[in-house]
């Protein structure tokens, strides 16, 4: 399928033959996936409107020139114009910027340097690239067959040269950083030692400044920082440290930014010591990410985009621009009052590692297809006239969505909503029902929408409004009904809709089904892929812009282990998304983990196992995941959703 996408330039990749498989005459699992996927795509075309372009594929298309995936290239925010899609659209606001940054980079060499952190991973992870250069196509689709027949050896072997060119080695050697899962090499494992304090707040500087030095030490030890400042250098937001503590550093950043801007060559990123700095300029704002977690520039930029979207969500773009055009020295802190909680929520999510942001995709609650259909139909039935989007959300996962045919939902917007509801806590803490003005920049960054939110506790069965007020409680057992309208006076209308919805859902048994599914939580990896070596995986369905994963428990317990896992995923993700290497399959081995990334036009799959797992075993696990998805696709993903 994509042989034309990346013309084969390298002979490093061996192409195993795809032969008839021994599996009862049925095609081998992964090779089959291709046919199957094509089938799915076609089939789904009948069921739902065509898909919009995919941002990541669009990028790829740009890099690789012509491709078989002929997706229309669009301008910055492609889907804002009434593009009908499945439940979610891919239009993240990031697309344009990534393209732009790619284009601006002068040479492959400079690009490689700017991407240093992404290579760093290979320092300790002997990286076995299935296709270091552009011949991924055949390997990609054939790999499965090989995997099941030949234990993956023929396809994954012999490719280390690609990753060990002198240049690459030199590059890697410059970087000192920690691996994920580093339990034993404590000396340089900043992650394990620092991560547990990472999210603690830095205290304020005393009036007499005596504690400043101590605080600075704590501040500097943070693995990750986010700053937002105005073009004129006024601090707007910092995740850690108060103004007094950081003013000096903000000054330095501002000097750097304006120096390069003065030279008409905006600074995009640089490395200082073990920290990567990535800068993003957005109109009157400059956003800065500093990370020692080894994320790539593109990944950090995505995170900054998300913070920027939160600011737009509070202010709207026109109002932001107006403020600065009237008064360039505007202090944005006041108009943004209260938004810092939401920014902190996002920032901490990124520090913990957010699969949703990494993959620009959403996670859904697993429900039987028939159950989901009943929920969808109920939503459509009780829909009120002023409704724009309706969502049922459980513990950060989408249960169901109702939306107009013309408007898709943008993962970035949903991420903001989820962050507000489940991370920042202010909405839930308010109790009762909420009516919240907000801008959803992916939908329309110029105006406000109004969001009705009510929470249910899934632990009780009472459903009278008086009983739905969990004043505290874990986010894992909570169900929210979110109804969004463009009409600010429609609170009572939407409230009525919520009431009708709940009554109907109770009556047709859906509420019980949803609550049971929430209480069950994520399935464990062992349940999904029994008998395989896999400890965790992320599977992203590109067409649905959704992902699914098993529970972190029991293998990844606590903040540090999870962050290590997420760092590994970030590295895998970068290895197949980096413009400099078009890998389709990536296998990495570290002393305490092995991992496999596998990309097709239809999905991305990242699998992790312990260090002694063989490639063959990993491949087998990957196959298991893919066939599980094939069986479960309509359960783990929302396909279509309720459209009116």
């Amino acid at each position: 399928m994509s042989t034309t996408e990346h013309s084969a330039q390298s002979s490093t990749g061996q192409r195993p033959d795809v032969g008839p498989d021994s599996n009862n005459g049925s095609p081998p699992p992964l090779a089959d996936a291709r046919q199957h996927d094509e089938g799915t795509l076609e089939q789904s075309k009948e069921l739902r409107p065509p898909l919009p372009a995919r941002p990541d594929l669009m990028e790829r298309g740009q890099t690789a020139g012509a491709g078989s995936l002929r997706l229309s290239k669009r301008a910055a925010r492609p889907q804002l114009q009434s593009q009908a899609t499945t439940a979610l659209s891919l239009a993240d606001v990031h697309t344009a910027d990534r393209l732009e940054s790619g284009d601006l980079k002068s040479s492959p060499a400079s690009r490689a340097v700017s991407r240093k952190p992404s290579f760093a991973y290979s320092l300790r992870h002997a990286s076995t690239a299935a296709s270091e250069v552009d011949d991924g196509a055949s390997v990609r689709s054939d790999m499965p067959a090989a995997g099941s027949r030949l234990d993956g050896e023929s396809m994954l072997g012999d490719l280390i040269e690609g990753a060990s060119t002198p240049a690459f080695k030199a590059l890697s050697a410059q970087i000192e950083r920690a691996d994920p899962f580093d339990g034993t090499l404590a000396e340089d494992d900043i992650l394990s030692t620092q991560m547990q304090y990472e999210l603690h707040d830095v205290a304020s500087v005393d009036a007499d400044g005596t504690n400043e030095e101590a605080l600075l030490k704590i501040w500097k030890a943070k693995l990750k920082h986010f700053f937002i400042l105005s073009a004129s250098g006024k601090p707007i937001y910092s995740r850690h440290g108060d103004d007094q503590l950081i003013s000096h550093y903000i000054g330095v950043v501002q000097t750097l930014i304006s120096f390069y801007q003065g030279a008409n060559d905006p600074l995009k990123g640089f490395t200082a010591g073990d920290a990567r700095f990535v800068l993003l300029s957005k109109g009157p704002l400059n956003l800065v990410a500093v990370s020692r977690l080894g994320e790539s520039d593109a990944q950090l930029r995505t995170q900054l985009e998300s913070l920027y979207m939160q600011i737009l969500s509070t202010l709207t773009l026109p109002s932001l621009e107006r403020m600065f055009s009237y008064r360039p020295s505007t202090d944005l802190r006041r108009p943004l009052e209260g938004t810092d909680v939401l920014l902190d929520g996002l920032a901490d999510g990124f520090t913990r590692g957010s699969p949703s942001t990494l993959l620009s995709a959403l996670e859904c609650l697993r429900l039987r297809k028939s159950h989901r259909r009943v929920v969808d139909e109920t939503l459509l039935k009780v829909r009120s006239s002023n409704l724009l989007y309706g969502l049922i959300v459980a513990a950060g996962r989408l249960v169901s969505v109702v939306r107009p045919k013309k408007h898709s939902l943008h993962p970035g917007d949903l991420h903001l909503i989820f962050n507000m509801l489940f991370e920042a806590g202010s909405v839930k803490a308010g109790g009762g029902e909420n009516w919240i003005p907000l801008c959803l920049p992916g939908f329309n960054n110029t105006g406000f929408l109004y969001m009705y939110v009510s929470f249910f506790s899934t632990s009780e069965d009472v459903h009278s409004p008086e009983a739905e007020r969990p004043s505290s409680g874990g986010k894992d057992d909570e169900l929210a009904i979110v109804l969004i309208s463009a009409n600010k006076d429609s609170f009572f209308e939407l409230r009525q809709m919520r009431e009708d919805l709940v009554i109907q859902l109770e009556k047709n048994g859906s509420m019980a089904v949803i609550k049971t599914a929430i209480r069950k939580g994520h399935a464990s990896c062992a349940d999904i892929t029994p008998g395989t070596v896999l400890k965790h995986f992320l599977y992203k369905s590109r067409g649905n812009v959704q992902f699914t994963m098993p529970s972190f428990e029991p293998h990844f317990h606590g903040l540090v282990a999870r962050r290590k896992l997420m760092s590994l995923y970030h590295n895998l993700h970068e290895s197949i998304h980096s413009r400099t290497s078009h890998l389709k399959v990536q296998h990495t081995i570290a002393y305490d983990s092995t991992a496999l990334a596998w990309e097709t036009p239809l999905f991305e799959l990242y699998c992790v196992a312990s260090s002694n797992a063989s490639r063959a075993a990993l491949v087998q696990g990957a196959n298991k995941v893919v066939s599980w998805i094939r069986r479960e696709e309509e359960r783990v993903f929302i396909i279509g959703g309720a459209v009116f």
């Binding site: 409704l387 107009p404 408007h407 507000m420 920042a424 308010g430 006076d489 009572f492």
Partner: protein
Amino acid sequence: MTDSTTASAPKPSSSVKLVLLGEAAVGKSSLVLRFVNNDFQPNKEPTIGAAFLTQKCQLPSRTIKFEIWDTAGQERFASLAPMYYRNAQSALVVYDITKPSSLVKAKHWVAELQRQASPGIVIALVGNKLDLCDDDSPEDDAQDGENVDGHEEEAVRKVSTAEAKAYADEESLLFYETSAKTGHNVSEVFTAIANAIPETSLKGPRGGAGGGTQAAISGGGGQDSSRVNLNARGDAGAKEGCAC
């Protein structure tokens, strides 16, 4: 929106719309949480937008069902306030007795309500966080109410009872000092409001919270620079060709 005259209650039952207004962090949500759930959270996060809650209040002669709008005190939401007080029969204007600026803000709200809200609206002025100055006898500090500004001292009363009471009397407001933390006087405020609602305005069902007017009314002095432009949403539909 329905008038919930429930058949089960033998007493006549009527709903009363109540709006809470006041500077950020004075304890509006905490008062509501105390009234509705009899609970208190020491580190309550700021309200975003507004929260809607209901709670019944038993009077000897009837049951009052409060329909409460707990609004956000942060100034960026100030322009939305008219939407919530427009049809309100009662308002709780809250200040923090340890923060003089919050009384200034409260006075602004009272003035705005008197100008813009329904003519018969019952307003209660509430000085919250009384627990922070349990030790002081209220009258002791009567004279420094006015001149202390923004001291970071340990929880001392900064607004005297006498001063606030005098103002409340002048404007014919109900007046209470409360503590959402201890619960002191909280249900008393709501009961007093319930009693003060004229019988005549308790009859018949009422409309919902909104007509279609823009939130064009200023929330008081000095807010214009930080006001979020909410009118922009009109453009949204047009630009997107949104037909929904």
